[in-house]
Symmetry: C2
Subunit: 178 residues, 2 copies
DNA sequence: CGCATTTTGTCTCATACGATACAATAAAGT
DNA sequence: ACTTTATTGTATCGTATGAGACAAAATGCG
């Protein structure tokens, strides 16, 4: 007998409750065996994808380039738009002020970016990549690109625009929710 | 002049390079201003969504229930399938052995799960939720469910199945990539 | 059997990270 | 102008967490 008859929505999944309670022998349980029976089938998938896709890259960049996540995230942003402020990067990435501040300090100490206080608003620090920063970024960018290509390869090219559209909707929605 | 003419793919985005290099006044820079000019427009969106959607919940559950991420992740899995092993949960969630082991130890100490070593394979520990565990899970589940509903509300119902299909493709692909 | 190899789970350690409080500047209200 | 209030960024501190080494059990191979 399943012991998990908890939560209001559990009843909605009652027809699935007939699944074996004791796992048969050594059968390996798969992600898809349970994620649709949870109350968060989409968020579960998103979380799983990020756990498996993003985490290893974070560790690789730490080990290989000595850059923590906020650091190369900042470089990624500055590569596409010079003179961003820490606040800009927070908004664009969803990282916290804390993390960006730390990343900026580390990058500056390494000489990979420069900080210049804004003339109009003394609180703002405009950030720019140095040549060294661009050199490092030139090494991490192809890695990110290759990984993106591998990820997307399973979605037919004709469908990618539609998929991107869904993600844009979610991006706006999570901003609303915050 | 933009200083970021770095990386092989930059040329492909040349038509976008005409964007203003110095930010005009105090204009707030948005996520969508740059994410399509990076080499990882999809992964960037996925990362952003997770940063803004998942992180706050992780912090809330830590503060409100004293459960770290591996802990409530384990409960989520056990709620849908009793008797899972730590290894099963790793495969299903994309979390590392380490994290699951830690979560299991904490949950057991709190009396929220029980561990029972498998008769056939002495290395395996079969996990089960206790009544207390189910009680806690009954409190976190609605929160997760509400959040999922809010997230998905922006995707038309008729399209959700298609979206879920895309995510399934990505789930399988990241498993392949690992 | 007997020995190497693999698998499962735990432990220790260094560290990246979020929470909180704070300083500096700007903006708004009177 | 002068006093709140908000915004931007920084510093300190406790903790969650990944890396790596390890123990125990199972499996493969001679």
């Amino acid at each position: 007998m399943r012991q998990n008859a908890v939560g209001a929505t559990r009843a909605a999944c009652a027809m699935l409750a007939a699944l074996p309670t004791a796992l048969p022998g050594k059968r390996r349980v798969n992600l898809f065996d349970i994620c649709d029976r949870t109350v968060m089938p989409i968020a579960y998938r998103l979380g799983f994808i990020m756990n498996v896709y993003r985490e290893p890259i974070i560790r690789q960049f730490e080990a290989e380039f000595g850059l923590i996540r906020p650091e190369w995230t900042i470089l990624l942003c500055l590569a596409e738009q010079d003179g961003l402020t820490a606040r800009d990067i927070c908004d664009m990435t969803g990282l916290l002020r804390n993390a960006i501040s730390r990343g900026v300090a580390l990058l500056e100490k390494k000489g990979l970016i420069t900080r210049q206080s804004d003339r109009a608003d003394g609180r703002l620090m405009r950030l720019s990549m140095t040549d060294d920063g661009q050199a490092i970024f030139a090494r991490i960018e192809p890695i990110l690109q290759a990984r993106e290509a591998a990820l997307l390869s399973v979605i037919p090219e004709a469908e990618r625009e539609r998929f991107r559209g869904y993600l844009d909707l979610l991006c706006r929605q999570v901003q609303e929710m915050a």
